[in-house]
């Protein structure tokens, strides 16, 4: 703390003391200082949250962070994996799982001799709070392709992301052997988690790129209902998402299930798509409201579809609107989901964050959507939906610059298990299930 700050504080306290109890009561009565200010709060006091102890389960059939409600802060980090042999890959998977289990649960890192670097970065303090953290591990196409012994076990639809017509992909923001989706209540918790992984796995993974994002926080509604957060175009994002609370629906839309033609080890897993999509927000903000709404296909304020809907949860009726009089045929939501007899097969679960990265060379804001979605079938899911969207009017305002396709293995069942175990077993690599 600087002398000046100290001086100011002393002065203020001194003044309050000086006028005495009656005087300060008078000052408060006059509506001068709000109560908090007189209780000695300081400008650099930490903002408070009653959610730091929120905890998501790490163990389960599926990895956490997919049907888990999206918290305020998210990140995708993409890595080059050095582990080559089955033994090295096992060490990678086990260490990742051990670190994630600890970080999601929270607790006290070990204390080392103070002549040594500390075990933990300490940026969340000596006791790590869970803060609603989830860390989701996914594997890229190259992870399989570059290891002969994994090639036969590659998920059938996993491919390297190809550029769509509107893409301007930056090689430094694309693909990766392994992706971590980190989400929690605060960006600092995500950064802490990332630094923990980097510190514990320097020999097996090298960070290639990362993108952080956020979603705006809303006050709780008196009637307990929920609404979708808005993206940087000012529209609610997620309204028409399939219901993540409906397990049967998720089994169909998101999870690779029994009876699919995917390898058995991948059951309970899902395909993850990441797209870093820049939004030209200055231009968007100079676009008439009506046009913005026609481009998306929904009302901006409420998120309701056209044709008499009042909330974001109302559904558009395209059967009654074949000419696009109500919802234009080229509106984003209509091209993304035709809502006809076959389009149910193309449902995806979107879990995006907004990102903001600074200023472009032209002095415009570098911001947009860290689009993340999950689906049981990559081709019928994202790839089909994106193909339907190619050429949409929204393209004038967006430019995909990065991302990749990944497969998210099933979750670790219990403390003897680890993410990726079923894959290793499928290759014939013997794995001992011990409690770590």
């Amino acid at each position: 703390m600087t002398k000046v700050e100290k001086g100011l504080i002393t002065t203020r306290r001194g003044m309050l003391l000086g006028v005495g109890a009656a005087g300060s009561a008078l000052a408060a009565g006059l509506g001068g200082a709000p109560a908090a200010e007189t209780q000695g709060t300081q400008v650099t006091d930490a903002p408070v949250s009653d959610k730091t102890q929120e905890r998501q389960p790490f163990y389960g059939k599926h990895q956490a962070g997919i049907v888990t409600p999206r918290p305020a802060a998210g990140m995708i980090a993409s890595f080059h994996v050095l582990a080559q042999t089955p033994a090295e890959v096992e060490r990678l998977f086990r260490t990742l799982s051990e670190r994630i289990a600890f970080l999601m649960k929270g607790g006290t890192p070990p204390a080392f001799d103070d002549k040594l670097p500390p075990a933990d970065s300490g940026l969340l303090g000596p006791v790590v709070p869970p803060d609603n953290l989830t860390m989701t591990v996914s594997l890229g196409s190259s992870f399989f392709d570059q290891r002969d012994w994994l090639v036969p076990h590659k998920p059938v639809r996993l491919s390297r992301m190809k550029a769509s017509p509107n893409d301007a992909l930056d090689a430094d923001l694309c693909h990766g052997d392994l992706a971590l989706q980190i989400s929690s209540n605060t960006p600092d918790t995500n950064i802490h988690a990332l630094r923990d992984i980097l510190k514990n796995l320097p020999d097996l993974m090298v960070l290639r790129w990362k993108q952080e994002g956020s979603v705006p926080v809303l006050p709780p509604k008196p009637d307990g209902s929920h609404e979708s957060a808005r993206n940087f175009l000012g529209f609610r994002d997620g309204s028409a998402n399939p219901d993540a609370g409906n397990a049967a629906l998720m089994d169909r839309v998101v999870w690779v299930s029994e009876g699919s033609d995917e390898p058995a080890w991948s059951q309970g897993g899902t395909y993850q798509v990441v797209r870093i999509i820049r939004n030209f927000v200055e231009r968007w903000d100079r676009t008439p409201l009506g046009e913005q709404e026609r481009i998306i296909g929904r009302k901006k304020a409420t998120g309701a579809p056209f044709g008499g809907g009042t909330t974001e949860h109302d559904l558009p009726d395209y059967a009654k609107d074949p000419e696009g009089q109500v919802t234009p045929l080229d509106a984003h939501i209509r091209m993304a989901n035709h809502r006809n007899a076959t389009s149910d097969a193309n449902l995806i679960l979107r879990r995006p964050f907004n990102y903001s990265n600074g200023v472009s060379k032209s002095g415009q804001l570098e911001q947009g959507l860290l689009f993340i979605c999950y689906q049981a079938d990559l081709e019928r899911g994202f790839i089909t939906v994106q193909r339907q969207l190619d050429g949409e009017p929204l393209e004038e305002y967006i430019k995909p610059i990065g991302g990749g396709f990944f497969f998210t293995p099933p979750g670790p069942l219990d403390e003897t298990d680890f993410v990726g175990r079923t894959l290793l077993e499928a290759t014939g690599h013997a794995v001992t299930r011990i409690k770590s």
């Binding site: 080059h80 260490t95 890192p109 070990p110 001799d113 002549k115 040594l116």
Partner: protein, 273 residues
């Protein structure tokens, strides 16, 4: 092995974060390694003077090809002892700063030293107007050599230097931005690794008996780096940095990060602050 840890509440954290051991080392044990290191540093700083003389003579004689060919190798003795050279921040700035350390980048009058000359030779493809920079560089390395002779090496700087060299590579060299005009970065890498390994090797006997696994892991990683770098060896040095494949760059990055992580415990292991 002497474990100095407070028991952690988390089994998981314990399992994953290999608990570093600290060896029982008395300050006297360090006297010989430090003396040996002093010799290594002096040899390098003297070689730097000799090599820089040949290099700057070529620049001043307008012999562009010769100057270019000497650039990569001349820097090596500087890079090998960088943690010590950096103790003299005025000289480190004038000898080895990069354009982006200066507000006006390449055009900044304060931008001098190796990289300023590199800019002239490789980006402008000329020795024109480089004479004053050549004279200044020669004067600076001569001064550096003099100061190093008079220097008493602080043990924690020496031992810490092993990790510092890796931190430098990890933070600003693996990207190829150090020798951005000449792309002779692999020469620098080699020198940085050798300089780091020298320090490690000198103190190695002090930790070997207590922590053999650590010693084996670190030397294994140094060996792996050598093996990767040797793929790029040519008759008179190394291939240009843009020849490095993405995979090898990732291997080097992982080894550098791991060495940086492990060598960061070296001071503590030797009981130094």
């Amino acid at each position: 092995m002497k474990l100095r840890i407070t028991l952690a509440s988390s089994l998981f954290a314990l399992a994953a974060a290999a608990v570093p051991a600290t060896a029982e080392v008395s300050p006297l044990d360090l006297v010989q390694p430090i003396a040996d290191y002093k010799i290594y540093v002096s040899e390098n700083s003297e070689k730097l003077v000799t090599d820089t003389k040949a290099f700057t003579d070529a620049v001043k004689a307008g012999d562009l090809d010769k100057a270019k060919s000497l650039f990569g190798s001349t820097r090596m003795s500087y890079e090998a002892i960088e943690p010590i050279a950096e103790l003299f921040s005025d000289l480190d700035g004038s000898i080895d700063s990069r354009a982006d350390d200066h507000e006006k980048a390449e055009k900044d009058p304060e931008f001098t030293g190796f990289h300023r000359i590199e800019y002239g030779l490789f980006a402008e493809n000329s020795t024109k107007d480089l004479e004053p920079f050549a004279d200044k560089l020669m004067a600076d390395v001569t001064e550096l050599n003099k100061r190093i002779t008079e220097l008493t090496l602080p043990p924690e700087k020496v031992v810490g230097g092993a990790a510092v060299l890796m931190e430098e590579v990890a933070a600003t060299k693996i990207s190829g931005e150090e020798d951005r005009y000449s792309h002779t970065d692999l020469w620098d890498f080699k020198a940085n690794f050798d300089g780091s390994r020298k320090i490690f090797d000198l103190v190695r006997p002090l930790i070997e008996k207590d922590d053999n696994a650590f010693v084996a892991k670190v030397s294994g990683n140094f060996d792996a780096v050598d093996a990767t770098l040797s793929k790029y060896k040519t008759a008179d040095g190394y291939q240009l940095y843009d020849k490095l494949t993405d995979d090898d760059r990732a291997v080097l990055a992982a080894k550098v990060n791991t060495l940086a992580e492990d060598l960061s415990t070296l001071r503590g292991k030797l009981g130094l602050n």
